[in-house]
Every structure is written in structure tokens, then in C-alpha cells.
Amino acid sequence: MENKKKYIFDNPQNVKRILYLLYACCTILFLLDFVIHRHVVHSWENLWGFYPIYGFVGCVILVVVATWMRTFLMRSEDYYESNDDNTNNKKSSDMNEENHRKLGDHNVDA
């Protein structure tokens, strides 16, 4: 492990630097709102910080809703391969796996 090559983001300090850069950009962009005069078409665009807040809140909602969707949409990886209902699908999924192995499911570039 000693001779393992170190890469740029293996150093947590570098990750921090990137993050600080992002925070700085965000602050500057937010402040630019007060400086730059824009021609607006829609009245909401006039609100200070409309785009930053919309972007941030939109993404948080997106992720929260998507995570919630997992509770009822997520199934096992071979859900569609196991043809039967819950009753006797253990055996058939095993068989499927065997089939896959035979066929070479990781044959990426035939």
C-alpha cells in the first residue's frame, strides 16, 4: 500500500479547494444579480435571486422526490428475468443466472 500512487483527489485538501471554488462562484453569481441589469420578459425574473433559488430548490425537490419514488419503484436487479411471481421464482432466477453466465452477459463488445 505504501507505493500506491497518489492521485489529485486522494488528497481531501484538493476536494475542499474545489468546493471552496464552487462556493465562491455561487456567491459572486448571486451578487451579480444586484449589479447587472437584465431585460426581463417575465415578472418573476425580476425577483432577486430567482434563478439561483429556483435551481437550488428545484434540485433538492428533484432528489427528495426521486428518493421517495424508490420506496415503491425499486425491485431487485433481475426482477424482469425471474418470470414467475413470488412463489417459485427462486429456482427460475437461479436458472436464469446460469443461463446468463453461459451466454456471457458481460460480453460487452462481441
Binding site: 444579480d33 425574473e45 434540485c59 428533484l62 425499486m74 431487485s76 463488445d109
Partner: protein, 566 residues
């Protein structure tokens, strides 16, 4: 002076034929030469109808060039060239031939001037592209290809029925503005809608594209949906329904993309999202909106191709495509990482990248025509696409936790193809006038004013901030090995299950009826034999059939003896 009447699909079909019988360097040279020569030829072609002939009572136009079709013609040539460079290392004749045929079919469809020709290429698109899926040669890809083919052919059949209605209504087959009046209009609308991956008809795309080969997906992402976008732009501009469908297409796939594990499936969902922007533009139908839709289709072919290529490179080198199994690849695949980030920045519409100069047109058009809610949805989708395609794809493949995989950058031809696409993404973003000069309308639009640039940059940076914040708080959904149910569940699970139940009931009833019938029959026979037993002992059922035969023989023998005596 110039052989105008060579329709662009012809060189590709001839190329497919040559690819089938040649091998090695010769084949590579020929396959590279075809899109270059054909593209140069197309560049010289003026607008107008170049090839038509009469068929029964109808005029068939197999080659019509105008600004709209030329625009798609150019980008299909670029896509074919990039795709061929990307797949130069492939030693699979089936894929090479299918790719050439597929590109040719796409070109045939966009230059088709009548509905019948369009139908022919529409079906060819399906039949040629499915081999790019089957070429993976796994059971999964075979099944996915079958489902893909069934849905694509269904779309073609609906198009054909619509065409027949159209011919009988209008008395012509010419393919131009159709609109949603009459049954023909609706049928053709639905047929295109299926190919365009409308909501609930979208799962063929997310099902099949991730199962295709590394190089096949790059071709697939370029042609089928863009042909659909082209046909909508020609036949249904300004159809209000398209605005709402398109807005739905921009929004719902991003939720699925956030929780999807297969990174090429994430890209498939984001492909639907991008097509949604184009559909909205066509629905709005103003000159600016149509320009936006068409140019976004142009750019999307290139940047989505670039993203699929970079993920293909990862799959090619590591054999893995799930976010849960990847990570840390920037260490040994730096070139792929950078090229992927260029594609990610383009699809996210960062200023100076290609997505920005086209998507902003659709957004501006939505605002100018007073579709405020639609504009808000598009804005949300813009933030969302950055979130899942712009950040998630590069982050989970190349950064995130170190998966320990130390795969190298892919072969040079793959890198070169990605490099060409990346250069185009940046060139179009920096110098959009070249792209704008090809557009159907002249609107004098300038994407680079302070308002647009600032708004878009703010939106994107604060989306990134949201990603960082969610990640640091541990609220970001981890990549999990899973399948997420989508509408396809209806035809992959519910229908088969219902059918199975229905048939098992039918079989049970059938067996019961048969058994009851046999029982009754037996009872009747027993009953009859009992009656017979009473009347005649000689021929009743308790004697074997042999005894009857013996008695017949005895009678015949007696008859014979009597005849001799006589």
C-alpha cells in the same frame, strides 16, 4: 454538372454492401470515406426536389432537399462519421453492416418527400437498428431487441394506416404539414409519437439502448428519435398538444434518471428529456421555437453521442456500467474523463458549450409566447438535466468512491471520435453563427447577452451547490443495484401475468368441461349397453369384438359352403 439525383441513403446502402464483403483496413477506409464523400456531395446540393417518380396514381418523392431536411442530413452525416470512427476496432460484420444501413435509413427518412417513402425508411430504421442491439449476443439484449422491434414495427404499421387514410382524404401522398384534423392526422401523430418516445411509449428507448453494444448505442442515440423530431417539425409545427407532451417529457425522466444505476440507462432517460425540449419547440411553432428545436436536435446528436461514447469507453474498458460498481476512473482514464465532462457541460447548456445556444431559443420562445408554466417546467428540467447528466454521469463513473478499477483510456479510434465530437460541441458553443446560418428561419437571435448568460450560469451553479449540499448531508440517493419500475412494467409484467392467469383459468375450465363430458359419455354408454344386454346376449358389450368377427366368419363360411353345394 453534379449528380443531384443520388439520394444520400444510396451511398450508405452501397457502403453496407461493401462492408459485408470486405475486411480489415480496406473496409475501414471505405466506411470512413462514405460519410465524408456523401457529406461533401450533400453540401453542394441546392434546395429542391431532386428525384421523383409516379407510382400508380401517386407521385413519389424520394429525394427532397430543403433547409429543414438538409439540416438533419448534415448532422446525420456527422453522426455517422463519428460513429464509424468510434467503431473502427470492431470486428463484427453484422454490426458494421447494420450501422451503415441504419444511418442510410435515417437519411432516407429525412429526405423522403412523400409518406410512402417515409414509411419504407421508417420500418428500415427499425429492422436495421435492432441488429445493433442483438449484436451484444446476450439473452437480455435479445429480449430487449425483440420488444424494441415489436414497438417500432407497431409504430410503422400505424404510420401506414394513417398514410392510407391520408391518401384517401387528400388524394395525395405528399409529406408536408398534416396537423391534427381527421383520423389520418391523429394516426400519423401517434406513429411519430411512439418513435419520439412520448410518455408511456418511451420504454422501448430506456429498455433497448442500454442493452445494445458499446458502439451500437452511439448510432442508436443519433437517428431514430431525431427522425421523429424531424417529422414532427415538418408535419405538426404549432400543434399545441405537443407543448404539453414535450414539457412532460422534459420533466418525468429526470426523476428516473436520478435513481437509475445503469449509467447508459441514465443517458437514455436524459435523451427523452432532451427530445422533450425539441417537442416543446415544435409545439410552440414560432420561427424562433422551430429554430431552437431543430438546432437542439443537431447539437443533441453530437453531445449525446459524446456522452454515450464516453460511457461506452468505460464499459469497453471495465466491462461494468453500473454506478454502484464504478468510480475513481479519472485516475487512469483522464482523457475520457475530460471528454465526458465536455459532453456533460454541453448537455447541461453551460455558456460556451453547444447546448446553451440551442436550448435557450426554446426557453425564450416559451416565455415570449406566454407559456409561463411551461417555461418554469423547462427551467426545472434544465436544472434537473444538469443534475443527472451533467453531474451524476461523470461523478459516479470517474470520481465518487474509488472502485479500485484501474482501466486505461480506450483505443485511439474511440478517443479520436470523442475528441471530434467534443471539438464540435465547443465550436458550436463558441461560434453559434455557423449553426444558425443553416437554420430554417432567420431570427437574428443572439444567445450571448448578459441576461441569458447570467441566468443560466446562476441556475447551473446553484444546482451544483444543491448536489454538493445533498451529498454532504448524506441525502443523495446512493447508487444501488436495482431495477426501477416504469411504464414497461405494464407490458413486461402485468400483461403477461394477467394473460397467464386468464389462460390458466381457461385451461382449468376447459379440462373440467372435458372431464364432465367424458363422464357423461361413459355413463350413456354404460346405460345403453345395459339396455342391450337385456335384449340380445349375442352382440352385447360383455362379448369381445373378436367373437363378432368369428360369427361373421362363420356366416360367410356357411354361405360359401352352401354356394358350393348349390
Amino acid at each position: 454538372m453534379w449528380m443531384l439525383e443520388i439520394p444520400p441513403f444510396l451511398p450508405f446502402f452501397i457502403g453496407a454492401l461493401i462492408a459485408a464483403i470486405t475486411r480489415g483496413i480496406l473496409r475501414n477506409v471505405i466506411m470512413l470515406a462514405i460519410p465524408i464523400l456523401s457529406g461533401l456531395h450533400l453540401w453542394m446540393v441546392p434546395e429542391g426536389i431532386h428525384l421523383q417518380f409516379a407510382f400508380l396514381d401517386y407521385q413519389l418523392i424520394t429525394y427532397r432537399a430543403d433547409k429543414l431536411s438538409l439540416m438533419f442530413g448534415y448532422v446525420f452525416h456527422i453522426a455517422a462519421f463519428i460513429g464509424i470512427v468510434y467503431s473502427l476496432h470492431v470486428r463484427d460484420t453484422m454490426q458494421q453492416v447494420a450501422a451503415m444501413m441504419y444511418a442510410g435509413s435515417g437519411l432516407g427518412a429525412v429526405f423522403a418527400g412523400d409518406l410512402l417513402t417515409l414509411f419504407v425508411f421508417w420500418e428500415l430504421l427499425a429492422f436495421t437498428s435492432v441488429f445493433l442491439i442483438w449484436a451484444r449476443r446476450t439473452k437480455r439484449s435479445y429480449d430487449a431487441g425483440m420488444r424494441y422491434l415489436i414497438i417500432q414495427v407497431l409504430s410503422g404499421v400505424i404510420l401506414l394506416i394513417g398514410t392510407l387514410f391520408y391518401a384517401s382524404e387528400k388524394g395525395t401522398l405528399e409529406f408536408d404539414y398534416i396537423g391534427l384534423d381527421g383520423i389520418a392526422g391523429w394516426l400519423i401523430f401517434i406513429a411519430i409519437g411512439i418513435k419520439c418516445a412520448f410518455p408511456v411509449a418511451h420504454n422501448w428507448l430506456t429498455d433497448a439502448y442500454p442493452e445494445a453494444t458499446v458502439t451500437g448505442t452511439v448510432f442508436l442515440s443519433a437517428f431514430t428519435t431525431k427522425v421523429a423530431v424531424y417529422t414532427f417539425a415538418r408535419a405538426y409545427p404549432g400543434t399545441e398538444l405537443l407543448i404539453y407532451i414535450g414539457a412532460a417529457m422534459t420533466c418525468f425522466p429526470i426523476f428516473f434518471a436520478v435513481i437509475e444505476n445503469d449509467l447508459r440507462r441514465v443517458l437514455a432517460y436524459s435523451l427523452i428529456n432532451q427530445v422533450g425540449f425539441m417537442v416543446v419547440g415544435i409545439g410552440i411553432g414560432t420561427a424562433l421555437a422551430i429554430n431552437g428545436a431543430v438546432s437542439h436536435a443537431f447539437n443533441d446528436v453530437i453531445f449525446k453521442g459524446l456522452l454515450f461514447m464516453s460511457m461506452g469507453a468505460v464499459l469497453h474498458m471495465t466491462g461494468k456500467m453500473n454506478g454502484s460498481e464504478l468510480g475513481g476512473l479519472y485516475k487512469t482514464m483522464p482523457k475520457t474523463t475530460i471528454l465526458c465532462i465536455v459532453g456533460a457541460a454541453s448537455i447541461s447548456a453551460f455558456p460556451l458549450f453547444s447546448g446553451f445556444v440551442s436550448k435557450s431559443m426554446v426557453m425564450s420562445a416559451a416565455l415570449e409566447t406566454g407559456h409561463n408554466w411551461i417555461w418554469l417546467m423547462l427551467l426545472f428540467a434544465s436544472a434537473g438535466v444538469f443534475h443527472h447528466a451533467g453531474i451524476k454521469i461523470p461523478y459516479f463513473a470517474f470520481f465518487a468512491h474509488d472502485s479500485g478499477i484501474r482501466a486505461n483510456d480506450p483505443p485511439n479510434n474511440m478517443l479520436l471520435a470523442m475528441f471530434i465530437a467534443a471539438v464540435l460541441c465547443i465550436a458550436i458553443g463558441v461560434y453559434p453563427s455557423a449553426l444558425y446560418s443553416l437554420l430554417p428561419y432567420d431570427t437574428g437571435y443572439n444567445p450571448y447577452d448578459a441576461t441569458h448568460v447570467l441566468a443560466q450560469t446562476q441556475l447551473l451553479f446553484f444546482s451544483a451547490l444543491a448536489f454538493v449540499w445533498l451529498n454532504l448531508r448524506g441525502m443523495y440517493p446512493p447508487e444501488l443495484k436495482s431495477t426501477n419500475l416504469d411504464f414497461e412494467w405494464i407490458y413486461r409484467r402485468a400483461f403477461p401475468n394477467i394473460l397467464q392467469r386468464v389462460f390458466s383459468v381457461i385451461w382449468k375450465t376447459d379440462t373440467a368441461i372435458r372431464q364432465a363430458f367424458l363422464l357423461k359419455l361413459n355413463q350413456t354408454l354404460t346405460f345403453l349397453s345395459r339396455i342391450n344386454k337385456g335384449t340380445s346376449n349375442l352382440l352385447s358389450h360383455t362379448y369381445p369384438a373378436g367373437s363378432m368377427v368369428m360369427w361373421v366368419a362363420v356366416i360367410l363360411a356357411t354361405y360359401l359352403i352352401l354356394s358350393f353345394i348349390h
